[in-house]
């Protein structure tokens, strides 16, 4: 349970980091995130199986392409409605629906869509066998979090990201263009979603409907952790990840899907800003 709880937590963290990054920087809740994740999976599959490219170039092309698509999604659509929260939600949710239904229309149905594992086989930890791909996910999670930390603390663009996140109007005064940075954050959030898809999807199969599950998981982790807080996301991933694994072990897997929803309800009742969030802290204090 300890091992699989850890793996489940890493999966949730990977799924949520991209969504969280975009929201934390640009304030846009990207409800097309689940669709982007699925598109990344199908794009990689197509590059490998239809174009004939090797796995890692396909993965790299997918991450870059999805990132660029994210930038243009912001520049062409979201830029015009930025700050109008309801419009942003409707627009991103609409984009997500269009993407998923387009995939369905294009015939991405059936059971044959799966990405290859990085390393096949399993290892014995204690008295439990764990497949190596799941350990890769933990490694990828640690790598991504470290890379994100270094990026946001030690690069010019990363510091600009933090500047916008902390105080957008003041950052204007030091020459940071909020729209440009917001579009980059959208692109980077999408690229992180693609990265998560490439690491997680080899465990199973790629399905159009999987996009909705990814969105719900990402949303619940971000709400519990505090929208915009990376460390909040990590903590929430562990809480929800272990709660799901314990529920499956001690109650029944049947109840797994309500764990994250219960977590959202509890956090909204107790601390609406989330564990480490700051979005509504002032209102909470008042």
């Amino acid at each position: 349970m300890l091992i699989y709880g850890l793996i489940n937590s890493a999966v949730l963290a990977l799924m949520a980091l991209g969504f969280n990054l975009t929201f934390g920087i640009s304030g846009v809740a990207n409800f097309s995130y689940g669709a982007i994740y699925v598109v990344a999976g199908f794009l990689t599959w197509t590059l490998i199986n239809q174009v004939g490219l090797p796995y890692f170039p396909s993965a790299l092309i997918t991450i870059v392409a999805v990132g660029i698509a994210g930038v243009y999604m912001y520049r062409l659509i979201l830029k015009r409605i930025r700050g109008l929260v309801i419009s942003e939600v409707i627009a991103t949710f609409g984009i997500g629906l269009v993407l998923l239904e387009l995939l369905r229309y294009l015939g991405f149905m059936g059971f044959e869509y799966s990405l290859p594992m990085f390393i096949k086989g399993s290892v014995e930890i204690g008295d439990t066998y764990v497949d190596i791909q799941r350990l890769v996910i933990i490694g990828a999670g640690i790598l991504l979090i470290t890379a994100l930390y270094l990026f946001t603390h030690h690069t010019k663009l990363g510091l600009a990201f933090r500047g916008i996140a902390q105080e957008e109007h003041t950052s204007l005064a030091v020459g940071i263009n909020p729209d440009r940075i917001a579009s980059f954050s959208m692109g980077m959030g999408s690229a992180l979603g693609a990265f998560a898809a490439i690491v997680i999807l080899p465990l199973g199969t790629i399905t159009v409907d999987g996009g909705y599950d990814v969105l719900i998981n990402a949303l619940s982790v971000c709400i519990v952790g505090g929208l915009g807080s990376t460390f909040g996301v990590i903590i929430a991933s562990f809480i929800i990840g272990y709660a799901q694994t314990m529920t499956a072990t001690y109650l029944s897997p049947h109840w797994i899907m309500i764990v994250s929803l219960c977590a959202i309800l509890i956090i909204l009742a107790v601390k609406p800003s989330g564990i480490l969030g700051h979005q509504k802290e002032l209102e909470e204090r008042v």
Binding site: F111, E112, S114, T128, L203, T205
Partner: protein, 416 residues
Amino acid sequence: MRIILRLVLVCLFTILFVVPSFAQQPITLGIPTSLKLIEGAEGNKAAILATEEINAKGGVQVGKEKRLLKTESLDIRDGEPGVPTSEALLGIEKLILDQKIYAAVVGNFRSEALLAAMDIYSKYKVPNIGTIAMAPAFQQKILGDKEKYKYSFRNCLDSVYLVKYISGLMGHIQKEFKYNKVFIATQDVLWATATGGLMEKWFKENGWTVVGNEKYPTGASDFSSSLMKAKSGQAQVILPIFDMPTSGVLVKQWRSMKIPALMAGFISPLSGTKAWKTFEGEIDGAINVMFEIGHIPVKAYPPSGKFYDAYKVRWKDEIQSGHGVSGAYDAVYVLAKAIEKAGTLDVDQVTTAIAGTDLAGAVGRIRYDAGHQLAFGNDPKVTAAAAAMQWQKGKRVNIFPESIAEAKIEKPSWIK
């Protein structure tokens, strides 16, 4: 006199040109189903294949004339999540009224939609042969009002027969290996949990110990908790019942965690030949029930292989689903034979002929019971048949029922 002459000319023109053109109108078969789902898409292709084969031989003999068949497919989406039954019904009605279909094949995915559609078919007197939805309520509805629902037939396995096949397979495993401890894992959807419940009852009545019976929400992709429970409970067999795409992960985890129990049941993504590549060979040893033969060729019954090969040649791809496709192919032949037997397109006479069908189809011998359900058994020469196959070194090998078995069950290397 001129008026009479004109009338005669009009009559002659009608007799010479209009009547024959009506006579040569093809008979339209509707295919209302979920075309974006694999069973619907492949069922559609199988029905088209049968139509093309019949047309290549000149069409259907209706009395003294040959009539061609044509198909009209419509995606009614009822198998997709969130699509209301009413939308599926509107689609069927549209096919009937706009395309003037004579009969329908393949049909609904969801049983509630099928049960509602039966009233529409009855209202418009449209013979229909469904090949996907599996609820036994279908037969009950027909037996409740035989005259009203006489137009509906089912050409695939229903859930009662599914339980019979799975229990037969479990009995076979018990006989071969003296196993009597099972763990049941099902998808949390009605047909799967109901099948799991019926199997649990059967196991208990037949001296098995049920170590656990767990339900997984659709979309689940980590089955480690159940696998660990199966291992700690010393289960010798794991019975999975799933039709969601992510359920193949269960088998991959079973192998990677080296759970010492046979994996035998129904996991939809394991049915097709592409599953070996999709799951990178990590499904070796898994046993899967194919709902109807024809989705897998059976050496002991050549018509199943003939259909399988014809499908492969026509569509340049092998059948990947385990349900509804061979039944769809046969459904067109059942209709064609019934029309020929009736010698007319009179719907009542044709439905009577369908009810009396006795045909060697791809699914086995086709005969319908009083509830218009295709009769299933263990010998395809006598009835329609399902099959259980095991993935053995990249090949699907039939292992049950014994009449069609081509090999013995092989235990995976980590099971003593």
